[in-house]
Amino acid sequence: MSLAAASREPTGDGFRFDRWAPLILLGGAAAIYVAVAVATGQTQYLTLDNLIAILGRSIALGITAIGQTFVILAASIDLSVASLISATAVLASVVMDGSAAMIVPAIAAAIALGALVGLANGMIVSVLKVNPLIATLGMSLVIQGCLSAFVSNFAGSVPPAFQVFAYGQIGAVPLALVFLLSLAILAWAVLRFTKFGSDLYAVGGNEEAARFAGIKTGRVVLTAHVICSVCAAIAGLYLASRLRSGAPWIGADGVYDLESIAVVVIGGTVLAGGRGGIWGTMAGMLIFSLIDSVFNIAGVDTFAKQVLRGIIIVAAVAFYAIRSKRIVA
């Protein structure tokens, strides 16, 4: 969130630290995982099954974080994803209400709600010029309030056909994992090959310059918000499938708002916007999963776990940021 974003630090010629840093962190996390498993004599944790279990640990977080990457690249942020996840999960499970025939309408409704919220967020941020943190915090309260006014517990249910989304397997690989990977590839392609992608980096890097270059900056920010909210809606659908129903607290309980931001930032995307990418975010998600698994294997005390997690978030981000010469606030 720097105001002095204009000065970019020079990148080295040969080794591009920025590019490889997420991978270095991920490698470190994986090495710690292996070391802990070996040191505690629990080598049964080093099988393919376990690898898949780790990869599949944080699907909902991963989907949300992909969306969050878009808004953060645009130098915005979205705190409303957690309540939106709850809302779409409940909406989907209520519309389905156990009937396989209602799956398509339910998915459509959830995505539409996501798009709508994204549109509203984007409008408030880009047209009313409200700081995105406040805009989406306010939106989060509105969504959560509307939701809790109508439901207070698990509502509706998801038919077995839809549970395939979370529990289905393609061979040994969970369907949801394949889905996440496809979504990541799609997001990467959008960022890499489309005009919107390059505009997004330009707007996030320097909005004024982007505007002078003829980019419709408001529209870019708006689109980023719609993408982010639709991703949150998909995460809501996934959770409805995984939990067999939707409840108004599942988003908040998973702390998907702050955790998705942390994942994106640990993946090397800069909070000030304009730099970073999807693969970093995926690395960030895996780092989170690995940390959780390491804690479980090592049997770390629950409260110590929290202390360590906070320190790890700060340390990981410092790993990128400390080389920067910019003034941050």
Binding site: M1, S2, L3, A4, I77, I124, L128, K129, V130, N131, L133, I134, A135, L137, G138, M139, S140, L141, V142, Q144, G145, C146, L147, S148, A149, L258, I261, A262, V265, L271, A272, D301, T302, F303, A304, K305, Q306, V307, L308, R309, G310, I311, I313, V314, V317, A318, A321, I322, S324, R326, I327, V328, A329
Partner: protein
């Protein structure tokens, strides 16, 4: 300092805009509505109870506004409150005489946590949103780790004096809660430092344009760390009041950081820095508390309160942006 481009601007944020800061008419309208709904509110018991309840939030907001004005956020205030309450119960360990040294220790912890936050931002160059998110998680874990999840002692009456007791036989108002006196003293001191000293001008300067401020000779890091320390100190004081008001629990502070930011923003503080006022943050905190009180009197359920809070938040900022655009500042 004399060369700073912002040194000439009066530090009173909202007051320098066209006319009066809108938080005051808002507060007046809310109070009028409450009195209309419940005439008992105009009695000392009514409004003193109200001020007593608003005191922790108002103190928090007054500290938070330093960090916001300097361009950052402090998300760690809430868990710092929890740490202070739990820590005090551990340290006093049912000994009334311990209060005399426990309170200074808690204030020191507040300053210390603020210094750590500031150091992470200034020297590790981690954006404050992430840095204080990290400390938030860490402090929460520390509070539990320290107490093993169940705080050991009761808070003695000597400790609870500040948050619970009343001073009777005061002319005009009959009685004054001690916490209201604390509120006046703390907010008064913070307002003085912000608007009548060089520190306040420098806080505004580094939030407005850190590069220019540095060129003008402002010790950016030192000022930023000071802002975080004042925010931490205010959280420690709020924790002492809350522990005093309601006793020991393990989730006292939850959510207070966002309420404090909301209050500061209602008072016209500008996120990402450069504009902020302690008296207006006090007004924001009182207005927020008044909104809750009013909704309570109207018998509206919790979800409606959330929706109203969200809408007011967005509207307040949108309105401020609109005014700023119109007045060309």
């Amino acid at each position: 300092m004399t060369g700073s481009p912002t040194a000439s601007r009066p530090g009173t944020g909202g007051w320098s805009l066209a006319g009066i800061n809108p938080v005051w008419p808002l507060l007046a309208a809310l109070v009028a509505a409450i009195v209309f709904m419940n005439p008992g509110f105009a009695e000392p018991t009514g409004y003193m109870n109200f001020l007593k309840r608003a005191a922790p939030l108002a103190i928090l907001a007054a500290g938070q506004v330093y960090v916001i004005t300097s361009g950052g956020f402090d998300l760690s205030q809430g868990s710092l409150i929890t740490l202070v309450v739990v820590g005090s119960s551990m340290l006093t360990d049912n000994d009334p005489a311990a209060t005399a040294w426990v309170i200074p220790v808690m204030l020191a912890i507040g300053l210390g946590v603020g210094a750590v936050n500031g150091a992470i931002v200034c020297f590790l160059r981690v954006p404050s949103l992430i840095a204080t998110l990290g400390t938030m998680i860490t402090l929460n874990g520390l509070a539990f780790l320290w107490s093993g999840g169940a705080p050991r002692g009761y808070l003695p009456d000597t400790f609870r004096f500040f948050g619970r007791e009343l001073i009777h036989d005061v002319p005009l108002v009959r009685f004054v809660p001690v916490s209201v006196i604390v509120l006046v003293v703390v907010v008064g001191a913070l307002a003085w430092a912000m608007h009548r000293t060089n520190l306040g001008r420098m806080v505004h300067a580094i939030g407005d344009n850190p590069v220019a401020a540095r060129l003008a000779g402002v010790p950016v890091n030192r000022v930023r760390v000071t802002a975080f320390m004042l925010s931490g100190l205010s959280a420690a004081i709020a924790g002492i009041l809350l522990g005093g008001f309601a006793g020991v629990s393990t989730d006292v502070g939850t959510g207070y950081e966002l309420e404090a930011i909301t209050a500061a923003v209602l008072g016209g503080a500008q996120l990402l820095g450069g504009r902020g006022s302690v008296p207006a943050a006090l007004g924001g905190a009182l207005a927020l508390t008044a909104i809750f009180t009013l909704l309570n009197f109207l018998g509206l359920p919790q979800p409606v309160r959330q929706v109203v809070q969200g809408l007011i938040l967005i509207a307040a900022v949108a309105l401020a942006m609109h005014r700023r655009k119109r007045t060309g500042t």
